[in-house]
């Protein structure tokens, strides 16, 4: 427990040091933190034994909220809550429907909603500019408009701060009775019902929270890349999020961030080394992790301590 906090603090310092020492890494690490926040949401659902194969829709909702609102209102401190609100709101509406389903149906329905969003983003050209995507207008932070270098640091800092905030929140939530009930859905849902706990309500709360974090992650990605395309909603992006969750390890709120940093670094280096086959390398890494380290990066670390 103490080691987890220590590792988190060390990790945060390490990230800042890396971003400072190697400027181009700042971009990669900001994306990693943003995805990590979204993957925290996947982690919640995994606790309940459910896999969302469409979580990218919430990233897309957050990202497109930023892209659409930015021309009218470019204040980062307003855009982030707006993105969270949109994603959380949509999460609540479809969550009401989705929590009635489990396992493959839950996964496939998520996928269906994500694909609907993807194709709307792609096809409604007049509104979304289709596959060309939308350029995000210049942003202001607390009323000031920082120059490029500073702006990168600002977004990085916000991502890091939010990552820590959401990490703590998820840790607290998973330790609370509501969070414990989530694990109950995975093991024996009927027992939960016998105790008078509504499994659907428990899952709905987790789903809305995960959607909200997805929206925040997507908004941060939009603020970093400054360009939003429908690709962010495609089902392969959702697969990546689940990939990161397993890569990092589902055992700790730190896992998603360990996973996303590892994922983004492997992706960047693999793409630089063999441009044609980076996806193949990522796939091979995923296979190795599942076959030889099913606890993910977090599992490897915590096992070492126990030994």
């Amino acid at each position: 427990m103490k080691r987890e906090s220590l590792l988190a603090a060390l990790g945060a310092i390490g990230l800042v040091a890396c971003a400072w020492a190697v400027p181009w890494l700042k971009f990669v690490l900001t994306i990693a933190l943003a995805k990590g926040i979204a993957v925290l949401g996947i982690l919640l659902l995994l606790r309940a034994g459910q896999v969302s194969f469409g979580h990218s829709m919430f990233l897309a909702l957050g990202a497109y909220t930023v892209a659409f609102l930015a021309p009218a209102e470019n204040e980062v401190l307003l855009l982030l809550p707006a993105a969270a609100l949109v994603a959380g709101g949509v999460g609540l509406v479809i969550g009401l429907f989705l929590v009635r389903y489990r396992d493959i149906f839950f996964g496939m329905l998520n996928l269906a909603f994500a694909m609907v969003l993807y194709s709307l983003l792609e096809k409604l050209y007049d509104f979304t500019k289709g596959t060309d995507g939308i350029r995000v207008a210049a942003l202001t932070f607390a009323g000031t408009e920082p120059e490029r270098g500073t702006q990168e640091w600002v977004v990085f800092g916000i991502a890091l701060g939010l990552a820590i905030l959401f990490g703590l929140l998820v840790r607290f939530y998973l330790g609370s009775p509501m969070g414990r009930a989530l694990a109950g859905i995975k093991t024996r849902e009927t027992r939960l019902e016998f105790m008078g706990v509504s499994a659907r309500r428990v899952l709905l709360f987790a789903y809305v929270l995960s959607a909200l974090m997805g929206g925040v992650g997507g908004a941060l990605i939009a603020m970093t890349t400054r360009h939003v395309t429908p690709q962010i909603a495609y089902w392969t992006s959702s697969g990546e999020l689940v990939f990161i969750a397993i890569l990092g390890g589902a055992g700790s709120a730190l896992g998603p961030f360990l996973g996303s940093v590892a994922f983004e670094l492997v992706r960047v280096y693999a793409a630089a080394a063999v441009a044609e086959a980076w996806q193949m390398i990522l796939g091979a890494v995923l296979l190795l992790v599942i076959l030889f380290a099913p606890g993910g990066v977090w599992g490897l670390l915590s096992r070492r301590w126990r030994a």
Binding site: M108, M115, V116, L286, I290, P294
Partner: protein, 311 residues
Amino acid sequence: MTDWFADNSLLFGLALLDGLANAALIFMVAVGLNLVFGVLRIVNVAHGSLFAIGAYTAASIGMFFAARGLPPWTGYVALVLAAVAIGAVLGPLIERLLLRRIYGHEDVLQLLVTFALFMILEDVQKLVWGVQPVSQDAPLKFLGTVDIPFGEDVIPFTAYQLFVIPGVAVVTLLGLAWFLRRTLTGRVIVAVTTDKEAATAMGIDAARITLLTFSFGAGLAALGGALASPTLALVPGIGAQTIVLSFAVVATAGLGQIEGAALTALLIGLGRSIAVYFAPEFEVVVPYLIMVAVLLVRPQGLFGVIETRRV
């Protein structure tokens, strides 16, 4: 309203014909996915990649035959060869080397293993066949077109898409139904699907059945791809498109349903092609709208059976 139908009868005719061929192809992929899920209890995300590789292989073999100066009908032999090759080589390889290691693991891990496989196979396609569109339409041209009267108009439609693709799908459907219900191996597959433990206790070699079923499913996906190859330009990403569509079919039909999968494929194939002609923006959305609408009313799928809740 009747006027509108009269005005658009030609488009409707085209949509129906297109939808039929489309449905036949989706069915070939979805039924294999369904069969594999039944026995292995794994949702194979890489199933669409097998469709894509089947299509590419068929095109390559077809072009190789054509380059050798073989008669055009050998194009059809190429289609079958591709499907058999994928089913007999790639299928067993994947099952033996990869999937066998993860039976009994958590569902998430099993799903992700096939996702990793999907990522790897996507790049394999790019490395082997490149990113430029590959196409061969010899089997399509060989049979020529048929004039179909539609009211006062006549629609020329390729005989390949009108007879060959739906024909193969119908033969697959009937053959599969007969195989699963009337032959020993087929019944054993059904037994393993229903209760693997009990089947094993009766002396059934579940490992052999698993290998057989997966390879067979892989072959069906590859056959679907091979059949589709003369009708479309092969580009990276067709595997990813195909798999989400067949997910929609399987989830809408309900698990373990073969005839149900056929009807659902028809429903979704027609829905999609009608959208192509009348509301092209919504072409991709239609299958998922159908799926969501169906699951809203029937959570177990159109033809699915409610599983008893195990306490």
